[in-house]
């Protein structure tokens, strides 16, 4: 596949800025280290040439940023956004829910061959990463204590990229490079493995994972499907605010409800797991819902088309009963 370079993206942005098609650009900006790339808004090409980056750490999905960006008052013109294939699904899903004005956005689809998980790198090379060169397929990591180490990109992909569901762009104004295909991935394997465990084992597994939660709300804030302006979890009357957790149920409840609120709308973009500072495999909750929806109500991919009706806002007279749902043999 043709690799898109930083220079090509800057050139594209420059053309669009100069011709007045767009007035600002949503892009990735270098953080303190090579691996903590952060989303940023560029309004001129000089700042973009200085700070813009594009590499293997540009996992951030910009779809949700469009909500705020298109609602800005007194800002004229369109915003340019670069979308990887998985981001375009979120983009479509937000359009379906009328969350932003399509007319104010200029979307450029860019091909992606997977983003890299810095935690996997840290697990291999240890602490003290000085710089990371991700320009080639073999990624060179320079560390303070061990010199340069070479890692194979395939071994350190983000979970969501290792199980990429689609390289096809479902929404764009313009596409750079070639479009990919929908991939028949093994993304439900982990869910199936859990389902095969006994109830006690599953409870122990989730207790172990969810009790690490620090309720930083990063998963909620980053999620392109979680777009309520007032969140149910910002409730001072819940009885659990500002008190140390005595046991872990509040975290479980948070995660059940968080996943439930995006059930049928989650495009499985995997941002929740990527941003979790405690490395909780949150995608396993979302994928359980996706898997259930597919098996109960027929295959559905949120964001595949604009205007599709989400499974939870739909019904048929022959739907299965909740008691059947939990007692199915083949689930």
């Amino acid at each position: 596949m043709q690799k898109i370079t930083r220079d090509a993206l800057i050139e594209k942005a420059q053309t669009l800025l100069d011709s007045g098609v767009v007035t600002r650009v949503l892009g990735w900006k270098k953080g303190d280290f090579d691996y903590d790339v952060t989303p940023a808004l560029f309004t001129d090409i000089e700042s973009m040439k200085k700070d813009f980056v594009f590499g293997d750490f540009c996992g951030a999905n910009f779809s949700k940023y469009l909500l705020k960006e298109t609602k800005k008052i007194g800002v004229e013109g369109k915003v340019l956004v670069f979308l990887k294939s998985c981001d375009t699904y979120s983009f479509n899903q937000l359009l379906t829910e009328h969350r932003f004005d399509r007319e104010k956005v200029y979307a450029v689809g860019i091909p992606c061959d997977g983003m890299v998980d810095v935690n996997k790198i840290k697990a291999i090379v240890g602490d003290g990463i000085v710089s990371i060169d991700d320009s080639a397929e073999v990624i060179k990591v320079e560390t303070l204590y061990d010199g340069v180490k070479e890692l194979n990109k395939a071994d350190i992909l983000l979970e969501r990229c290792a199980n990429c569901k689609s390289r096809k762009h479902v929404a764009y104004d313009e596409l750079m490079g070639e479009d990919g295909e929908v991939i028949d991935s093994n993304r439900f394997d982990e869910v199936e493995k859990l389902e095969k465990m006994s109830a006690d084992e599953r409870f122990a597994f989730w207790q172990n994972e969810l009790s690490r939660c620090i309720r930083c709300n990063a998963c909620r804030d980053v999620c392109p499907a979680c777009t309520c302006e007032k969140c149910v979890f910002n409730n001072p009357n819940s009885g659990v605010e500002n008190k140390a957790a005595a046991n872990s149920f509040e975290e479980q409840m948070f995660h059940i409800i968080r996943a439930f609120h995006v059930a049928g709308r989650c495009t499985d973009c995997g941002e929740c797991s990527r941003v979790c500072p405690q490395h909780i495999p949150l995608h396993l909750l979302n994928r359980k819902f996706i898997k259930d929806i597919n098996s109960f109500y027929g295959d559905y991919q949120a964001g595949e088309t604009v205007g599709s009706r989400a499974p939870l806002t739909n019904f048929t007279k022959e739907d299965l009963e909740p008691s059947e749902a939990v007692n199915r043999e083949d689930k």
């Binding site: 109830a199 659990v240 046991n247 019904f315």
Partner: protein, 144 residues
């Protein structure tokens, strides 16, 4: 000698139009069902947010049952169809997290089915009593 027998706390969400009337009919017919069942009236079974159910557990309920009109008989035409989908997903998720699936239930009870209401509640209380106290879903901070 006094024996402290375990009595579960059961929350029953009943839709105003069918199941609540069904509970009423059970009463008028002098059918008995356990006093552990606390009925909460809701306008429609689809008024029940998944959070209500988890909140009930968090505050110390041992079982939650949701009763509504039979599919096709909803007072608001289609409310219970949505309930059915939501609860199928929620219960499946609770099971996935390793929570006993017998603690939650959905039953369709019409206004004419007083006997079914009493029988359902008797059965549900028995099941939950056998399971014992809800330890996995409680939150000590919320218990009064």
């Amino acid at each position: 000698m006094q024996v402290n027998e375990y009595k579960p706390k059961i929350v029953a969400f009943c839709c105003n139009w069918c199941s609540y009337a069904g509970a009423d009919l059970a009463g008028s017919n002098r059918l008995s069902y356990p006093a552990e069942v606390k009925v909460i009236r809701v306008p429609c079974s689809c008024r029940v947010n998944p959070m209500f159910i988890l909140r009930a557990f968090q505050r110390g309920a041992d079982g939650v049952i949701l009763c509504g009109c039979h599919p096709g008989d909803c007072h608001y035409t289609s409310g219970n169809y949505y309930t059915r989908r939501r609860m199928a997903l929620l219960f499946s998720m609770l099971d996935y997290l390793g929570i006993e699936k017998e603690r939650t239930r959905v039953e369709w009870v019409s206004a004419a089915e007083g006997a079914k209401f009493a029988a359902t509640m008797n059965d549900f209380v028995q099941t939950v009593t056998a399971l014992g106290e809800n330890k996995r879903l409680e939150d000590l901070r919320c218990k009064k």
